[in-house]
Symmetry: C2
Subunit: 192 residues, 2 copies
């Protein structure tokens, strides 16, 4: 998966006097720079999405990378935590079919099948034949799997809470509201 925010062309004639004046010290352009540059290169191009899509993608990657590092140190991995969590959130009796898990995590059923196989091998879940539907298989948390989530939660949440501390309570509320609205709309438009 690569950056979904289309990258940027730079001005055709960069000022030698003020090189990178609006740039990050590491040479990373801001989303606004990107949109402006595409406007200059292709006037009339529909660039209004760049300021939204680029930072969302970068932030997602920054959050994920940070969490991956923290979890690796704890001997867990994000895919497994995600699997256990989605079952946990489904409520008692803490069991979900493969298909449902795939739907709730935006991951393919094949990938879920592999995640479940790994987690079962590690004693975190067990598979049982389901009662409903055609050939459903229920994936159930074991006591060990249940305990693993409980142990990991505070670490991950605490870490993420520190990362969003730069925004005030009010800013976070406004941001969350806009994100939820956008997500509902995107899901409708993409049919997912």
């Amino acid at each position: 998966m690569a950056d979904p925010a289309l990258d940027v062309p730079a001005p055709d004639v960069p000022e030698p006097g003020a090189p990178g004046s609006s740039e990050d010290p590491r040479g990373v352009h801001s989303a606004a720079d990107i949109a402006t540059a595409w406007q200059r290169e292709r006037p009339g191009a529909p660039t209004e999405s760049i300021e939204i899509v680029t930072p969302i993608w970068w932030l997602g990657k920054l959050f994920a990378d940070d969490r991956d590092r923290a979890l690796r140190a704890a001997g867990i991995d994000a895919a497994t935590l995600d699997l256990l969590s989605v079952i946990r959130r489904s409520g008692p009796p803490y069991a979900l079919s493969t298909r449902e898990i795939a739907c709730r995590t935006l991951v393919t059923a094949g990938a879920i099948s592999q995640r479940v196989a790994r987690a079962e091998r590690d004693g975190l879940v067990v598979r049982r034949p389901g009662t409903t539907g055609r050939r459903s298989v229920l994936v159930c948390l074991t006591a060990e799997g249940h305990a693993l989530i409980e142990r990991s939660v505070d670490t991950v949440l605490g870490r993420e809470a520190r990362l969003v501390r730069g925004l005030s309570d009010q800013e976070r509320t406004v941001l969350a509201g806009l994100l939820v609205k956008l997500m509902a709309d995107v899901r409708r438009r993409t049919g997912r």
Copy 2:
């Protein structure tokens, strides 16, 4: 990479009378539901990040999946487009070292090396020994690579513009501002 927003436990005693009343028809809980549920399960847990991190990660995935589908139909792939774009944005003479590309795309140098090898095989870039630094290699766009970006831009931008159309101009401006602020802060805290 799995969902970095910690998933949610459901209430221990789900109301049978109103099952999933605040849920998405597909069974996906909203970020607010997730935070509320963790508060109930683990009172005092630092859940303030969930409303931010969860939708960001989901939106990133929705945007990426949609773009991947569109690009596949056009016979390109997102990783290659990302590579070509970052070189394009660096401005004339459209050449960047592997190290710089890795830094600007949040991808490891090894992955860039592989992307460049694929793109070179396809005639989209060429590698040339660099003049500066120790052993730098400049990755340069070919005419074909340059043309490929130009052809792909409008398609991808148009697609993404439609996806964010649910937000008004003002809402997009506010959202973009908050995202930029948050991103600067997260980068500072994670050192990236």
